[in-house]
Amino acid sequence: MTQVERWGLLELQVDGPVGVDFHHDHDGAYVESFPDGGRWLVRFMPSLEGTWHYKLADEAHSFTCTHSTTRGPVRPAGTELRRADGTSYHPLTTTWFGTEENWSEACRALAASPFDRVRLRVPQRLAQLDQQVQDLLAVDMAAEIVIPDDRFVPELVNRLAAYRNVTWCLEPTADLRSRAEQIAELDSGRHLVSAHATNDAGVPWLTHLSVPLENLRGVSALRRDYRKPVLVDACGYEGNGSTPETSLTPQEMLTRIWEGTVRGAHVAHGEWYVDGEDGPWSGGGLRPVGVVAQRLRLLREVLDELPDGVQPVDDYRDAPTLAVPGSYYLQYLGEHQFPDRTFNLPAGTYQVEVLDVWNHSVRRTHETVTDSLTVRLPGTQYQAIQIRRTS
């Protein structure tokens, strides 16, 4: 019998346009075929291990879904994102709205970058987008598909929904609800769906917020008001473009990403240096050439080590703080030059790190605490403090 691993890809060649129901004892899904060159394909990503049944041209078929070797697609869980296997997910996203000719080089640059998720615009040929998503899957990166209008929708979703690494982002239009519901109906992978800059993200057919936001302090209110994951798609671009949004200094760009992240959002990177021969990275250049993409490696390391269940806490009103109270704290001080910071902690021993976010350096100490801990700081901007209980 055919075997497909959980969250892997089953691909079937069929005779033409069909809708196929897949059944499992504890789940079910519906998949429509799509044209690919001269043939029609059905793609399906099984969500559960065990036997799946389906019918093609009145003939019964089945396949076995085996144990997963991956963590699966991304799911919303309250204000967090999680992988389908329940593990936490802290993507670091960049924006690349490019074309076919630069893709292979850009993809190599992505694979070598601290990013693990990229916002892509739908190109003219959906087969090209298909290849991009596959290339990203091969390097364990996620693709956010920015869908400008509904021209592409049935084929786009039928073609890509079975890839575990996609999410959908709609440009808001008057018929947003019906478009989002159409995608949900066709999307056998049940991927995240958002609408960039919609004026109401509270509706249940949008899984999370996709916002442009220049003042990242606003993240906290968005999380409070909507109780959904907050993804800041555009906080500006590091670069030397001709608009205020595309000419942020690297310091400003980096601090925006840190500020939003420590307030509990996922903040996308963008870069817009116009003087390279291949144009700005986020406009489809060959590679990021700015400073921020490099300095985000420190954030990548921090995100990779975040303990499960970390949340923004209100205990330190003058500085955003992520915490698992009592055992882990990550505080970001932004443009402020604090001489020191005091934390009230349970008695124990702690590893304390002062992260110089801009200079990409870490000063690590081990402290024994009875009730409070004062962390000395260099008195310069862009510092973060990470405290981890060791016993």
């Binding site: 079910g28 519906y30 949900a184 999307d187 056998s188 049940r190 993200a201 509270g202 008001d225 109780r227």
Partner: protein
């Protein structure tokens, strides 16, 4: 397989735990799936160990469902049903159409001519039946009605357990109250009337304490109400009447409560909050620009203000513009002429206006409080107005199409003629509408800059079509 028509009501029932406080202790969710789209609703405890879930399917075809619950006996129930085409008269729920108008889900225009009967469901069976009979022939397609009693009422049953002030447990609901209330919502649905449900009001003043529950109690109440009622396609949510007269709550509280209703409601029924007014000294409508508001539910006594409020890109519904009647309060003693004048004024500016009657010296006192019988003269004239507005040529966004129609309401003035500057092109065929006599008289055709002679009496309108 069981069937439910599109936009109809699918109800599931199970037995589960009855010990403790099931309202608070037991969570029950049902995920309904059409193809891959999943709509998740809250189930609810209906007393005596009975749990239910209600769902309105919006796509024709096979729906499957599965339950998840903190109680093992309610968890993991699966099943399916077939959603069939809507039956006669079922146009689906009402939603916003274009920017400032409404339509049913099947595209049919919704006229939005409402009335108010705050506590009609709390009255005797006879009066409730009379209210329904009155609505059957009245022109109204929406009723504003309260869930909670006022400080002066002493009903047998309330949304909460207990019926004596000071002895009500606001953390325990009374399923029998809700079953009755829902049957009345269903009666309105049968009549094609929207139920604009007022979830809180300030006329408690601490007597029952429902105006000053804790945030957790408010949230549990809203969650329970939405679980029970949201699946009825004629339900709208009005978070509060005269919200600003409740000094126990802040704007931040109302923000939060509106957000909660949005979060609990899988269908996104129309949702607003209605201001009080102390005309003309105090007017503090909620900020309708906030994203969780679908339309502007306004109390104001001047229909001409619609023009200004249309700058907010949401429909304007003046749910209270004063009432026809002879009450001792200024909000409730307008003449029919005055009330209908305000209707014409607000509606010809692209808004919507609500009716109410407050006669205090008749057999049943008074329509806005308890329903019963309509005594006034305004409702017949509003029926006439509704027909006129329903017949106007409109653009795709719902606004009257100036290429094909001009409507001039001349108000309470008595001009002998008006000068109009008509859009260029073919002439418009004019009719004279007498909003009091309810007559439409054909005039002649006019084009460009023109002078139209008039009979010099108030409450007339000119309608030109081409």
């Amino acid at each position: 397989m069981s069937t439910v028509e599109r936009w109809g009501l699918h109800e599931l029932t199970w037995s589960g735990p009855s010990d403790g406080t099931p309202f608070a202790d037991v969570t029950l969710r049902v995920a309904y799936r059409f193809r891959n789209r999943v709509v998740t609703v809250d189930g609810f405890y209906d007393g005596d160990g009975v749990y239910r879930a209600r769902f309105m399917p919006d796509s024709e075809g096979r729906w499957e469902y599965v339950t998840s619950s903190s109680a093992p006996e309610l968890d993991g129930h699966r099943g399916s049903f077939e959603c069939t085409p809507p039956g006669p008269g079922n146009h689906g729920p009402v939603g916003v159409h274009g920017t400032h108008h409404f339509a049913y889900a099947d595209g049919t225009r919704y006229d939005c001519v409402g009335t108010t009967c705050y506590h009609w469901t709390y009255e005797s069976k006879e009066i409730q039946e009379l209210t329904l009979a009155s609505l059957r022939t009245a022109p109204f397609d929406k009723v504003r009605m309260c869930l909670l009693p006022t400080e002066g009422m002493r009903p047998d049953r309330l949304p909460f357990a207990g019926a004596t002030p000071g002895e009500v447990d606001v953390e325990v609901f009374d399923p029998a109250f809700f079953r009755h209330f829902e049957s009345r919502v269903a009666d309105l649905l049968e009549l094609g009337v929207q139920a604009d449900l007022i979830l809180f009001h300030p006329y408690d003043r601490g007597v029952w304490g429902f105006d000053r529950m804790t945030p957790a109690q408010d949230e549990a109440f809203l969650r329970y109400v939405v679980a029970r009622l949201a699946a009825y396609r004629n339900v709208w949510w009005s978070l509060s009447n005269e919200y600003d007269f409740n000094h126990e709550k802040t704007i931040a509280d109302w923000d939060r409560l509106l957000q909660q209703v949005q979060r609990f409601d899988p269908y996104q029924r129309l949702r607003s909050i209605h201001n009080g007014t102390k005309m003309y000294e105090v007017f503090s409508p909620y900020d309708f620009g906030k994203p969780w508001i679908t339309h502007q539910s306004v109390q104001h006594w001047d229909g001409a203000e619609v023009a200004a409020w249309r700058s907010c890109p949401k429909p304007v519904v003046i749910d209270e513009i004063g009432y026809e009647g002879n009450a001792g309060r200024r909000w409730g003693n307008l003449t029919a002429d005055e009330l209908v004048h305000r209707f014409w004024q607000g509606m010809s500016l692209g808004g919507y206006v609500g009716h109410g009657e407050s006669f205090v010296d008749r057999e049943i006192r008074a329509w806005i409080s308890i329903g019963g019988r309509l005594y006034g003269e305004s409702s017949a004239r509003i029926a006439f107005l509704r027909d006129v507005f329903a017949g106007l040529p409109r653009r795709a966004d719902g606004d009257v199409d100036p290429e094909h129609c001009v409507l001039h309401y001349l108000g309470d003035r008595q001009p002998s003629a008006v000068d109009l500057d008509l859009p260029p092109g073919n002439p418009y065929h004019f009719d004279l509408i007498d909003t009091v006599a309810m007559t439409i008289t054909a005039l002649t055709s006019y084009s460009g800059s023109c002078r139209i002679p008039l009979p010099a009496r108030p409450y007339l309108a000119l309608r030109g079509t081409r």
